[in-house]
């Protein structure tokens, strides 16, 4: 999938959000989109998902099956979690993502109404519908925000699996959790351009860090560090 010289603004006369931005994503690529607030990360994600059309430039070779999880899941809908996921599975013509709901730790939420969910729980519903059906392009807007430690770790694993299947994953991520995924490439959106800011260096020498903290918080921190790809003993 390739975005070439893409320029976008919401209305004529508005400042350009993106100007001549390019991005090349091979099958199996995992792209982390970073940048300060308001620089156009969500706009870039919507362009890649096909929800916005570039004013100039081209986005080509977009995979047919797209999963999209918005930053804020629209929970103001009159369905239970199970009914919503059933509807979305039928719309996508895929099986109800029962395995995903278990892995994201949301089975206990299935009978709850969407408007009653907490922010994190609603976010899991948004992720589950996007992940269902083996998407060839997975667009995640701040996917780790509000998730518990276990779900964050599991989401990293799921993203790795999708990439291993040849799916393209593009996610904005302020928390940096996506860096736990092997081979992730980091891009920054700034001044209307997309710049690759860092590559994962495979031969970065390892070092040992000793952390002192209250025992009650040790398990949570260890899980988080493992989710980020660190070795914890």
């Amino acid at each position: 999938m390739r975005a070439t010289d893409v320029s976008f603004r919401y209305r004529r006369g508005d400042p350009w959000v993106l100007s001549g931005a390019s991005l090349d994503l091979a099958p199996g690529a995992v792209a982390e989109i970073t940048g300060p607030n308001g620089t156009g990360k969500s706009t870039l994600l919507r362009l890649l998902a096909g929800l916005l059309r570039p004013v100039r430039g081209l986005i080509e070779e977009r995979p047919a099956v797209i999963g999209y999880a918005p930053e804020r899941f629209p929970s103001a809908q009159p369905f239970t979690v199970a009914a919503y996921l059933r509807h979305m599975a039928a719309i996508r013509r895929v099986a109800v993502p029962e395995e995903l709901t278990a892995r994201l730790g949301m089975d206990h939420l299935l009978g709850q109404k969407l408007p009653d969910l907490s922010k994190g729980s609603a976010h899991k519903v948004g992720l589950a519908q996007a992940l269902a059906g083996e998407p060839g392009l997975l667009i995640l807007d701040e996917p780790f925000a509000g998730l518990d430690v276990t779900a964050r770790a599991e989401l990293s694993v799921i993203v790795t699996e999708i990439a291993a299947r040849g799916g393209i994953v593009v996610a904005s991520d302020h928390q940096g959790d996506l860096r736990a995924v092997p081979g992730v490439t980091r891009y920054e959106v700034r001044d209307g351009k997309i710049t690759q800011v860092a590559r994962v260096v495979e031969d970065d020498p390892l070092t040992t860090l000793t952390i002192k903290l209250p025992q009650s918080r040790a398990a949570a921190l260890a899980a988080r560090l493992r989710a980020e790809g660190h070795e914890v003993s």
Partner: protein
């Protein structure tokens, strides 16, 4: 596409917003048929019902199209594609307004008409309601959130648009959706003679309205 139509209709009904146009529908029907319709007055009553209920159909269509949050519409577009999402929304709105029209056609058979109308009048009455369904759905779509983001502007344009259609239709069958024309024709027993022009004009205006909605959605998502 059918699962998305089902999802849209289910969300609308479960949100209880269907009661708004349903109350409007029952109010209009109660007024039209409160004193009963003597034999021979069935088709004029049907034509009045179709003309007035076009506003209720537009209200219902707009309510259904605006019922789901914007982010859910984006999720649906990624799931089925832009064109299918648009068509599914319109199809759901048409099914809803057609169901309301069915109530409007059946209601007087039970409580309003002194005599059951003949098959021809029943057919004409149903046909006029179908024209109102198409025109009302187009008006509702043109005032839905992707086109008019402000709820106040949307409501004003919906009611104002309906009034404008009524006023313009007095100028001739092609000036707008020919609502007054079909009412006049039905009241003067001229509907079979003028039906061709009325149907052609109503279909053309409805198609133009739906095409305008599709064009705006193509730009604004």
């Amino acid at each position: 596409m059918i699962p998305l139509v089902t999802f849209r209709l289910s969300g609308y009904v479960r949100s209880h917003r269907i009661f708004q146009p349903l109350l409007g529908l029952l109010a209009v029907l109660s007024i039209i048929y409160a004193t009963g319709v003597p034999a021979g007055g069935e088709l004029p009553s049907y034509s009045d019902s179709a003309g007035i209920l076009m506003l209720v159909f537009a209200w219902a269509a707009r309510g259904l199209l605006d019922n789901e949050p914007d982010e859910q519409r984006l999720i649906a577009i990624t799931a089925v594609g832009r064109r299918r999402e648009l068509v599914a929304g319109l199809l759901a709105a048409l099914l809803l307004t057609a169901a309301l029209a069915l109530v409007a056609v059946v209601f007087p058979l039970l409580v309003g008409f002194a005599e059951t109308p003949g098959a021809a009048d029943l057919g004409y009455g149903a046909g006029l309601h179908l024209l109102a369904v198409l025109a009302g759905t187009a008006l509702g779509a043109l005032t839905s959130r992707p086109v008019l983001a402000s709820p106040a502007a949307s409501a004003a344009v919906l009611v104002g648009g309906y009034v404008a259609i009524l006023l313009l239709s007095s100028a001739g069958p092609w000036a707008s959706v020919p609502v007054l024309d079909w009412m006049n024709a039905a009241h003067h027993h001229e509907l079979p003679d003028r039906l061709g022009v009325i149907v052609a004009s109503a279909l053309a205006w409805s198609a133009a309205g739906l095409a305008g909605y599709a064009a705006v959605r193509r730009v604004r998502g």
